[in-house]
């Protein structure tokens, strides 16, 4: 039983091979860490999964359905949600209005479960401790609030699979703990699958049940955090020869 399956995924940019023959399976409710040095293809991989990039070879299967022909917004409606490495808020809107966009466009009446979209937005802001920023424009947010908004908006899509792309870059150690706590709580409360791309090793190792390491567009390790950290190939990829 898998929620996400990536089969023989290959993506080239001109002559440069960003991903070559990637195979990956993610189980429902799993917390998966995705690591790898800069330029190893992590963001390209999630761009292919979320549909931002569609001219790849191979296939992306979600809940048994082949997504290859679906554009990004249709994949989002199927339940794949992502946050962006560089936050991309809707800057002319308030925090709450940001959350209303996915709630209005991607969430079904069934998922709303009798509540209004406003109530859902309020609940998510409470979970992520953004409640008092509800009516602020995004321009005035601090770094950590911006990261939280990015996650909150991704959560407002009511996803089955949440992909968090470096949600902790540039945060202080206590702020990292904050985000970690929120993500683990989300995973335990809603059984949502989370894929975390992260450079902060401490965070990704304590969060993940399983870790996949990419290097130069290939999977070089795929097992428990402890084993991956001891894997000589991973060490080599990070430190070089």
């Amino acid at each position: 039983m898998t929620v996400l399956e990536v089969n023989k995924l290959t993506k080239k940019f001109g002559g440069f091979t960003a991903l070559s023959d990637i195979n990956l399976e993610v189980k429902p409710g799993e917390r998966l860490g995705l690591i790898g040095p800069n330029g190893s293809g992590k963001t390209t991989l999630i761009n292919c999964v979320s549909g931002t990039i569609r001219d790849y070879q191979g296939e992306v299967v979600f809940n048994g359905e082949n997504l290859n022909n679906l554009v990004a917004h249709k994949r989002a409606r199927r339940g794949i949600s992502r946050s962006f490495q560089i936050p991309k808020p809707f800057s002319s809107m308030t925090v709450k209005q940001n959350l209303l966009i996915p709630l209005e466009y991607a969430v079904t009446a069934e998922q709303l479960d009798g509540l209004t979209i406003e109530e859902h937005a309020d609940k998510i802001m409470e979970d992520l401790e953004l409640k008092d920023k509800s009516d602020d424009l995004t321009g005035g947010l601090t770094q950590i609030e911006m990261r939280k908004l990015e996650l909150a908006r991704a959560m407002a899509l009511k996803p089955q699979l949440l992909i968090s792309d470096e949600a902790m870059a540039g945060l202080s150690s206590s702020e990292v703990d904050d985000i970690l706590k929120i993500l683990i709580a989300l995973n335990e409360a809603t059984k949502i699958t989370i894929v975390m791309i992260e450079h902060i090793m401490r965070a990704v190792m304590s969060f993940s049940e399983r870790v996949v390491c990419l290097d130069a567009g290939k999977v070089i390790a795929n097992s428990t955090p402890n084993e991956v950290i001891k894997n000589p190939a991973v060490e080599k990829a990070y430190l070089g020869e």
Binding site: V71, A76, R77, F84, M93, I101, V107
Partner: protein, 326 residues
């Protein structure tokens, strides 16, 4: 009274006022100037649906306007169609052209759409210049029907008619159309559609990954915008009683359609309306007192000045002023 009721009462009130004006005002210059300003306003509102709400620049407003005008001429020549049919055809034809242009280029970066619209302007002008059936380079004359009636009611005539002459009728038609356009823009702003456009303007990639069907929304916005421009163009030949490609596809139309919203403010429908009324009036005065070149210079200078120094237009300036007052 809710703000909605208030808004619609004002709209209806203005419509009544426009009709009374055609009955009571004698000086034909006011209808001429009013028609010009209304035309500016509607084109500005239509431009803003794509430019302001979505952030895609259309340089080819004059193409949609001119194609509307010539679609009207064509059905008049070929089917002997009446004014109403002509205007409807004009809107529909421009809508189709808008949709096609959008479908070809809206997948690309916004600048390519902008350049393509400019290309569309020259291509359509060349086509019409070479098409003698609708007058070619020499242009075409329009002879309005004498004593037209609708449901037994005399529309235009010296006595016992709804309007004293065609200019007054067309002024009124454009007035109603302007008010309808304002209502459409306001409805868009307050709808799910409008919120989706806003999200995609702020960040297209984020909007798409939050479930917003960005390409479809862009296409709908382009089609609505182009059809409104087409309608406006459809009224134009009747009003002028003569039309040629140079005036129907004039770049000034494009410049004005883009300058008014950028000067007035692009966030809501009020911006283009303010921009068109203030600048349009100024243009009318400048044309009468100095020269028509000077009025174009004024638009150009205002446009450049505002985009550099007041990026949020009149609306932004008013807001700033108010905040300072607090």
């Amino acid at each position: 009274m809710t703000s909605n009721n208030k808004f619609y009462s004002i709209i209806v009130g203005l419509a009544v006022l426009a009709y009374l004006a055609t009955a009571l005002v004698d000086n034909q210059y006011y209808f001429f100037a009013g028609f010009a300003i209304l035309q500016l306003m509607i084109m500005a509102l239509a431009w803003n649906i794509l430019g302001g709400y979505v952030g895609y620049v259309n340089f080819g407003s004059a193409a949609f306007f001119g194609l509307g005008a010539y679609a009207a001429i064509f059905v008049m020549e070929y089917f002997k169609a009446d004014l109403f049919t002509q205007i409807i055809t004009a809107g529909c034809f421009s809508a189709i052209v808008g949709l096609a242009t959008g479908a070809l280029t809206l997948r690309l970066r916004g600048v390519y759409f902008a350049i393509a619209t400019l290309a569309l302007l020259v291509v359509s002008e060349t086509l019409i210049l070479n098409w003698d059936y609708v007058g070619g380079a020499a242009g075409a004359y329009i002879l309005p029907k004498r004593n037209p009636t609708v449901l037994g009611l005399l529309i235009v005539g010296k006595e016992n008619a709804l309007f004293g002459n065609y200019k007054e009728l067309l002024f009124f038609v454009l007035c109603i159309f302007g008010l309808v356009t304002i209502v459409i823009c306001r409805l868009i702003e307050r709808s799910k559609f409008g919120r989706g456009l806003e999200a995609l303007r702020d960040n297209e990639q984020a909007a798409e990954s939050m479930g917003v069907p960005t390409l479809r929304l862009k296409l709908i916005a382009t089609t609505i915008s182009a059809s409104i421009m087409g309608f406006t163009g459809g009224v134009f030949p009747y009003y002028m009683t003569f039309i040629d490609p140079i005036s129907a596809f004039n770049l000034d139309i494009s410049v004005n359609a883009l300058a008014m919203p950028l000067i007035g403010g692009t966030a809501t429908w009020l911006g283009p309306v303010l921009g068109a009324v203030v600048l349009g009036t100024l243009q009318q005065i400048a044309t009468v007192t100095i020269s028509s070149e000077i009025n174009l210079l004024i638009v150009g200078l205002f446009l450049v000045g505002f985009v550099i120094f007041a990026p949020d237009g009149f609306l932004g300036l008013i807001k700033k002023f108010r905040n300072r007052g607090d």
